[in-house]
């Protein structure tokens, strides 16, 4: 149960960060991607802030032999570039630009009750199941 509260707390903070930063506004996300229009580079600062903090803390945290609540750190170890990575990221990026939502902000935005957010999240689940179906 401790891990539930640790995850819940992290995600609560994460979601508030998304809200403060402007990532929960699809119009702002599309503005960031709109390089042939009135480009709004503000959201580049979100990534800078997040990476600056996490790049430092990641190194400090992983000096430990294990996390507080589990036996080991579960981190990706691959470093090869394959077509799945490129095609997957491209398909994700096209969808991201089309709606202005990526997975985190969409889940945060569910509470707003805006129908477009529900349609997006439900369709995202369809996409996740579709992937598992075709990749079997």
């Amino acid at each position: 149960m401790k891990i539930f509260f640790a995850s819940f707390g992290s995600a609560l903070l994460f979601g508030l960060g998304l809200g403060l930063s402007g990532m929960t506004l699809p119009s702002k996300v599309i503005g960031f991607l709109d390089v042939t229009g009135p480009w709004d580079p503000t959201l580049a600062f979100v990534m800078m802030g997040a990476i600056f903090v996490h790049a430092i803390s990641f190194r400090l945290i992983t000096k430990r032999t294990s996390p507080f609540l589990t036996t080991s750190f579960r981190l990706p170890t691959r470093n090869d570039i394959d077509s799945r990575l490129i095609i997957g990221a491209l398909v994700f990026g096209l969808g991201w630009g089309l709606a202005g939502f990526c997975p985190g902000p969409a889940i945060v935005g569910l509470v707003s009750g805006i129908p477009a957010v529900f349609v997006f999240v439900a369709s995202m689940l369809v996409g996740i199941y579709a992937y598992r179906f075709v990749s079997r």
Binding site: L69, P76, V91, G104, P115, R132
Partner: protein, 142 residues
């Protein structure tokens, strides 16, 4: 773009980085929302509870934002519903195929200096810029 929103973006980003660090420190997990959702779509014993915590935490943040900062979630661009459906399917499928999204690759992966995440992030930002440029050319964006 102005000073206030740029500073909010920087601080908000810092909070996102901090939140990802808490998850790593306590649970040893990467804060990648698409991966967390993917694991929850096909749950295995002992691996679902922390993922449920993440989803409920994000939704609770949304609830708090609705009360304290309602303008943070109110603006959705106009467009037919199928646009959000097509977009959602692409985001769901693409993130599973590419092994991550903005949080997992863009924040956590780049912070580890992962080559895969850097390549993925450049690719999905380019994809997003491409589709927005097409929408602008077609007059879909105001």
């Amino acid at each position: 773009m102005n000073w206030k929103t740029s500073l909010d973006a920087l601080i908000g980003g810092g909070i996102i980085g901090l939140a990802s660090s808490f998850l790593l420190l306590f649970a040893g997990r990467v804060f990648g929302v698409s991966g967390i959702l993917g694991g929850l779509a096909f749950p295995t014993k002992g691996d679902a509870l922390w993922r449920v915590g993440i989803i409920l935490g994000l939704m609770t943040a949304g609830f708090i934002l609705m009360i304290t900062k309602p303008d943070a979630m109110a603006i959705v661009p106009n467009g037919p519903w199928w646009r959000y459906s097509v977009a959602g399917i692409m985001v769901g499928f693409g993130t599973q195929l590419g092994g991550g999204c903005t949080s997992g690759h863009g924040v956590c992966g780049i912070s580890r200096f992962s080559v895969r995440s850097i390549v993925a992030t450049v690719t999905f930002i380019a994809g997003g810029m491409l589709v927005v440029a097409v929408m602008r050319a077609l007059g879909v964006l105001a």
